[in-house]
Symmetry: C2
Subunit: 265 residues, 2 copies
């Protein structure tokens, strides 16, 4: 496994224990605004359950040279790289061929992938275009697709999945046991009726007192009313509980109150 | 304006006329799955109206060294770079300082930005944290924020906006006239009850016949029924109409039919 970004200076020892992942979303339809990606958020939460942190995502077009450059940049830098999109039967599905080139290996007709497609399609339906989905970079292992049979694949630290959310999610079941995760990150969220600017200085003090907890502040502007969410994330549950207590004190001392999820919905 | 990727080999003369943009989404909340980004799709459509193409997007964490490296990589490569997030008053809002470092200029208290905040907040409310929002990289020009007054800014080909969608959208009104766009890209979408594998070979022939039109194929798996959307994009409306005709013929000759938007919803 490449050491990657998690070894760089500026990260605490605790963060170093958590492998870092990158998602490469391949598809013109996301970049044009036609389709809204839902895979990033879903995958981020699943990875966290496995003790892996989503650390970056890139959305790139269906252009071979860009796929190659992006995959090679990301696989050198992150512990795990996931891709979605571009592994279907049509001319714009170029991900598998591009990833073979990124790894400098040939694209081969994978016997097991071919068998899976033969099981799924009747003989007359398994045409050349569909058989293209059995071509996999040499040395890759398959990722099962229980929805529509055409498999994804893993090569090195790169996991290649379909873009259709239902298929991507099913494929991830076959990936999960292959991941070697670190500690799981836990989250505490508080909503408040205070405006960010009123508590920013106090919040900064709390952040300084708990360097291993990552505290984020997110303002809302809903129906002209100001509110905000405070989100604390970390692997140490005891520290998180202390941070929650400090945030509660801060809100009370500044004359604010905690809001429920429904208050800010 | 940097020449960037639009000058590289492999793109047609037609594509060269369209400036390429990159969106950098700065925020741990998107990478954790807590918040789903909606800015990419909105901005992509707005840029297209201005004759600018969204060509890549990156989602990165609130980490200074990563913001600096990403902004510098993208501003050298793309005609326009947009960022969202991290320009508020709290400790995790580090975008402005990071971008000043990326450009090698100091972060200065901008007199006009300060005046805007003084207008918006009563004297007692304009504390140090809120005044932080008036610190802008030296040489940058302001981007108006009619929602909550704290401005965004433009430096070189980089446009720095808020992450809250309502504010980002309002800021874009002040950016639009600054963009020098090329041709607008038009889109034709057809839905069909055919499975991708049945038309892949024919579709590839149509793509080959119209190299300036970009044809994408997107499968749906809804309630066990297979369908697909064919999306043709290009700047030449006459060619797009020819492609639509060819796609219609293809669907009919393969025994399929066109579906309406509501059929695939």
């Amino acid at each position: 496994m490449p050491t990657g970004i998690s070894q760089k200076k500026g990260y605490s020892a605790r963060m170093n224990a958590i492998p870092h992942a990158c998602l490469i979303i391949i598809g013109n339809e996301i970049l044009s605004g036609r389709t809204r990606d839902t895979n990033l958020g879903w995958l981020a939460e699943q990875l966290n359950s496995s003790g892996v942190r989503m650390y970056e995502a890139r959305v790139i077009p269906d252009v071979e040279e860009i796929i190659i450059a992006t995959v090679n940049a990301c696989r050198a830098r992150f512990d795990y790289v996931f891709t979605t999109g571009g592994i279907g039967p049509t001319h714009d599905d170029i991900t598998s061929a591009a990833i073979a080139k990124a790894f400098g290996v040939p694209l081969i007709l994978h016997p097991e992938a071919k068998r899976l497609l033969q099981q799924h399609y009747t003989a007359g339906d398994l045409n050349e275009a569909r058989l293209k989905m059995a071509y996999i970079p040499e040395g890759a292992s398959l990722i099962a697709n229980p929805v529509s049979s055409a498999p994804g694949f893993q090569i090195g630290n790169v996991f290649v999945m379909a873009g259709v959310p239902r298929i991507m999610q099913a494929m991830f079941d076959d990936i999960r046991p292959r991941l070697r995760g670190g500690s799981q990150t836990h989250t505490v969220t508080l909503h408040t009726n205070l405006a960010e600017g009123t508590y920013a200085a106090r919040l900064s003090e709390i952040q300084t007192a708990f360097p291993d907890i990552e505290i984020g502040s997110y303002p809302h502007f809903r129906q002209g009313r100001v509110s905000a969410s405070l989100v604390a994330r970390g692997t140490d549950i005891a520290q998180l509980a202390q941070v929650e207590e400090r945030l509660d004190e801060m809100i009370a001392e500044l004359g604010g109150r905690r809001l429920s999820d429904s208050d800010i919905a």
